[in-house]
């Protein structure tokens, strides 16, 4: 909780990166879902949404920001819930046709490029680790089957997906090689 609150604090200051922003989004969404099924009064520490509003109120007070100071924290939170709930009832928005048509060729190209990189990587990895492949193979979860990572990847654009996938594959390869070499180098 402390970590995500620190991320939230950084987000308020425009200092959170894209992955952190994504995690914050998920945490707030999860909290909203939890709130719908639990009694709000039973929570023993401020929720993420309450803390967000409180942090913004602290800023408002420090800057002497007129009217919003006169709305209490509880009113701010109730208003947020009201707006969010109203937005929830709105039909889901999709990118306008102009934006989509402009992005289509770029996305297509980026996807093709990232697929090529992934295939090259996998081929290279198979060639490099073929001799030790059997050792510890059942202990390694391939990146592609990790749902958590996949959901992170899906929300990134193609270029960032490629970078993250490249990093994760490289990390996976190093771990696999390390584990294999530990077992292979100890014949007794």
């Amino acid at each position: 909780m402390a970590n995500i609150k620190e991320t939230m604090s950084a987000f308020i200051d425009e200092e959170a990166n894209e992955i952190e922003t994504h995690r914050l989004l998920r945490s707030i969404a999860k909290e909203k879902n939890d709130n719908e099924s639990h009694d709000l009064e039973t929570r023993d520490q401020p929720s993420l949404i309450t803390s967000f509003i409180t942090f913004m109120s602290i800023r408002t007070s420090m800057l002497q920001q007129s009217y919003s100071q006169r709305i209490s924290l509880a009113e701010h939170e109730a208003l947020f819930q009201r707006i969010s709930s109203a937005i929830g009832k709105e039909p889901t928005k999709h990118a306008s046709s102009v934006g989509v048509s402009l992005r289509k060729p770029v996305i297509g190209f980026a996807l093709a490029a990232s697929l090529l990189v992934v295939v090259s990587f996998v081929t290279l990895n198979m060639e490099n680790t073929e001799s030790v492949k059997v050792v510890g193979e059942d202990n390694v979860n391939p990146i592609e089957s990790d749902n958590g990572v996949e959901s992170e990847l899906r929300d990134l654009d193609a270029e960032r997906q490629r970078h993250l996938r490249q990093y994760l594959n490289e990390h996976d390869r190093v771990m696999r090689t390390k584990r294999a070499s530990q077992l292979v180098s100890n014949p007794k």
């Binding site: 989004l25 709305i71 208003l79």
Partner: protein, 194 residues
């Protein structure tokens, strides 16, 4: 840090356009206080202020497919808020004030005397109490937390600039500002529980 604010907002807007409503929640949380401050400069009644603020966000959500990103998201949202507030006054047959609030000043300027007069004594007292608690909490913070949060909130400096001034890593600044806010939050929670 120039431009990062816009890029974070545009990324969130892009997510909304892709159908991720959760991203709009973050935009609401981020700008709710500012929008209330701006709308509050036009309308005196606190219920009207909240209703018009809500309407502003709903209009923005509906119009988001038309947002081209030529201006900052906040500038666009600000215009919707002003127009919604003015329309609200017209619909109540009251003449909108013949002033345009500067976007940079809108949320920082103190509200008109009319608003002050409309404020109930209880609300006024609560505002004063809150301010007192916050400023007392800031005074009692350890120096490194107090300096970090003050440079951020009063001076508007980026973490990198604060890190240079305080001669420490950016991560430390981030942590100090968070700890300062958390400490102030605890005092506010205690005040609310009393």
């Amino acid at each position: 840090m120039v431009g990062q604010k816009d890029s974070v907002d545009k990324e969130l807007v892009e997510r909304v356009r892709r159908g991720d409503k959760r991203a709009f929640d973050l935009l609401i949380l981020k700008y709710q206080h500012k929008i209330i401050s701006i709308v509050g400069r036009y309308l005196g009644d606190r219920n009207d202020v909240q209703d018009v603020s809500q309407e502003t966000f709903i209009k923005a959500y509906r119009a988001i497919p038309n947002f081209r990103g030529e201006s900052a998201f906040y500038t666009w949202l600000y215009r919707i808020a002003i127009n919604t507030a003015k329309n609200h006054l017209v619909s109540k047959s009251r003449r909108p004030p013949n002033i345009d609030i500067d976007i940079d000043d809108g949320e920082f300027q103190d509200s008109s005397a009319v608003l002050r007069d409309n404020e109930s004594p209880q609300a006024s007292l609560a505002t004063k109490q809150m301010e007192e608690v916050i400023f007392r909490a800031i005074e009692n913070l350890p120096e490194e937390l107090r300096v970090a949060v003050t440079l951020r909130e009063f001076e508007g400096l980026s973490y990198e600039e604060i890190a240079r001034i305080m001669d420490c890593p950016v991560g430390t600044v981030r942590s100090r500002i968070f700890r300062a806010r958390e400490a102030i939050e605890q005092k506010i929670t205690l005040m609310d529980n009393d």
